[in-house]
Amino acid sequence: MASETLPLTIHKNPLAVVYEWLGTGDHKKIGLMYIVYALLFFVVTGIEAVLMRIQLAHANATFLSPQLFNRLFTLHGTTGVFFVAMPILFGFGNYLVPLMIGARDMAYPRLNAFAFWMTAFGGLLLYASFFAGNSVAQGGIAPDVGWFAYAPLTAPAFSPGHSTDYWNLSLLLAGVGSISGGINFVATILSMRCPGMTLGKMPLLAWMNLVMGGLVLVTISPLTAAQVMLLVDRYLGAHFFDTQAGGSVVMWMHFFWIFGHPEVYVLIIPCFAFISEIIPVFSRKAIFGYPAMVAATTSIGFVSLGVWAHHMFTVGMPSYGNAFFVLTTMVVAVPTGIKIFNWLATLWGGRIRFATPMLFAVGFLFQFLIGGLTGIMLATAPLDWQLGNSYFVVAHFHYIIVGAILFSIFGAFYYWFPKMTGRMLDETLGKWHFWIFVIGFHLTFDFLHIPGLLGMPRRVYTYEAGRGWESWNMIASIGVIFQGVAVLIFVYNLIRSYLKGAPAGNDPWDAWTLEWATTSPPPEYNFAVVPAVHSRRPLWDIKHPDDPDSKYE
């Protein structure tokens, strides 16, 4: 494990390289393909957001037609959840989990490749809708029914043509990919750990991907079921959501949110994993309360299955129905709070080093907390009756998706890019990226809470003047410029550092988990000798044989 030099580059026939990547089952290559795919769609989602914010910066604007605006918010949400967040988290998980548990690959390498390609083709199918029918400038026949595609808008009578089918089928494909990925994660983490790595000695990232994998199995499946129902409604004349035949449109909402709420936990739990790896290393302290973190994450996974109808408070459920979901939603905040306290306790008394990954982790802590607090506000049904479907909700969930999820993903990039490429990302550019993005994020999303409180609804292509919404929308739109600049700096950093970044060596951060015990990038087989571990920080034990963690655990 002494090699500090970069691996030899052997020039291969380009076609052979392409074929190698297309047909690979290697978790590292598949992980990288997921990540690059997600980054491309991240840029696309960003452009969709920029266009919408230009339209909304002024009252009565005519930059975008209402039809195009509807297609944009539908695609922005759908792409963001299914073709940015899910793939990037599956990508990091795929890359890191086998390395961190001392395995040579995932349990099912070919299933892994299948899962990636299903997801990839799902995304391509969704965007193919731009090029079918109508002009591209009008958005083609991209779906325009919102990312949650409520019935009866999706019924054949109200969505004639195929735009809804692009939504339905592309997500069916992606869903099969996600479920396959979930099976793979659970099987890998339970069945492929290296000797000595009991469940109580796994890195928290492995635990959290285990919970995420298990959650995916029961989260995506309801959506798949509902989408099959929609498919037979649209093409076989079935009546699942057909009110004329006695069907219920609220049932679609139930099924969708039975998927949709645990889905956001599927998204955030891997981010908890990144933070739980980064904060200890940059505080030079082991994570505080490992057992509590495991218990909290597992309970979040379970409780999240019981809160879905807090997305439906305004639908008219009976009072005891509303009350049940208010209570369960409040309950899920408790283990979440425990995790935040444990991260803070890890920082407390540590020797903190504010390298770029740590900056993003601290940003995560602040922003996740605030986003969680606005979530509690929305969990209070009477308050939700005022704020539901307003920009307050938009601000809340973007606080989590951008402020927490995206920040932790940025942190993960800065932390693990050296392992994946053998080169460090530039620290100066990283700091510029961080600070400009923080300014932009807060300009946009802090101030978007206010029009929500003042009554501005979601998914409106424009609004009338004189309601007090204009200045806040203008500020929010300006914030987007900062975020765009920051992302460009990030992309530049990625490309430049890949080509001529400083060599990283095996373990640039002086970390403690097994991925840092092999070369950067790791060889195809990961470890020359399958490691055996005796504590939660096996690399610490190797580096400090006089004072191993196994003495204390």
């Binding site: 349990a107 099912y108 479920i179 979930g182 099976i183 793979n184 659970v186 099987a187 890998t188 339970l190 069945s191 492929m192 750990r193 000797p195 000595g196 994998g213 298990g214 199995l217 029961v218 995506i220 499946s221 309801p222 798949t224 079921a225 509902a226 099959v228 129902m229 037979v232 076989l236 004349g237 079935a238 009546h239 699942f240 035949a245 006695g246 069907g247 219920s248 049932m251 099924f255 039975i258 000798v529 490691p531 055996a532 571990v533 096996p538 190797i542």
Partner: protein, 193 residues
């Protein structure tokens, strides 16, 4: 770091078993949603035939399918023992019983569609009935395809004692399909009528 002596054997659950159980969990979630829709829509059709009017309880098919779990169990036990002859017999019985079940469903549906004029479009009952029973039947068919592949391999003499674990993993799927039928049967033919 190498494995030191005296640590005892490092035992982990088999990945085939874990993977199949995960698949079963995911499929159970899908079936649960269809069952929920079925139960919610009981008695809510605005028109058209009711279950009582058109459904005939598939007793024979059910007995066949549930027995096939037993023959499957015997097949696996035989293979684990090394009795490949007995394995082939019980495996074939499992396949045959499953095929009879599907044939029964096909006959039932032919009657419903052509004689009773009852389709997925007819009313809410039609929608939920064909979706739920159809979803289950498609899972049985996938199982039959797997059973057939293994049957062919077994007749070619290629399935031996060491394949016991893999066949057992497949049998988990078949038992799952049976268990789902118990729930579907109860919901559609007992509770729903």
């Amino acid at each position: 770091m190498n494995i030191t002596a005296g640590e005892g054997a490092w035992q982990l659950p088999s990945r085939g078993r874990v993977g199949m159980i995960c698949l079963i969990i995911a499929e159970s979630a899908i079936f649960t949603i269809f069952i929920a829709a079925y139960v919610f829509y009981i008695g809510k059709s605005l028109s058209g035939p009711t279950p009582r009017e058109v459904l005939r309880v598939p007793i024979v098919g059910t007995i066949c399918l549930l027995s096939s779990s037993l023959t499957m169990h015997w097949a696996i036990a035989a293979l684990r023992r090394g009795s490949t002859g007995a394995f082939r017999l019980f495996w074939f019985l499992t396949l045959a019983l499953g095929a009879i079940f599907i044939a029964g469903t096909m006959v039932e549906w032919r009657h419903l569609i052509y004689q009773d004029g009852f389709t997925i479009q007819t009313n809410l009952f039609g929608t939920t009935y064909y979706s739920l029973v159809g979803l289950h039947a498609s899972h049985v068919i996938v199982g039959l395809i797997g059973l057939t592949i293994v049957m062919v391999l077994a007749l070619l003499g290629k399935v031996r004692r060491e394949h016991g674990e893999r066949c057992e993993v497949f049998s988990l799927y078949w038992h799952f399909v049976d268990a789902v039928w118990v729930v579907v049967f109860t919901t559609v033919y007992l509770v729903g009528r």
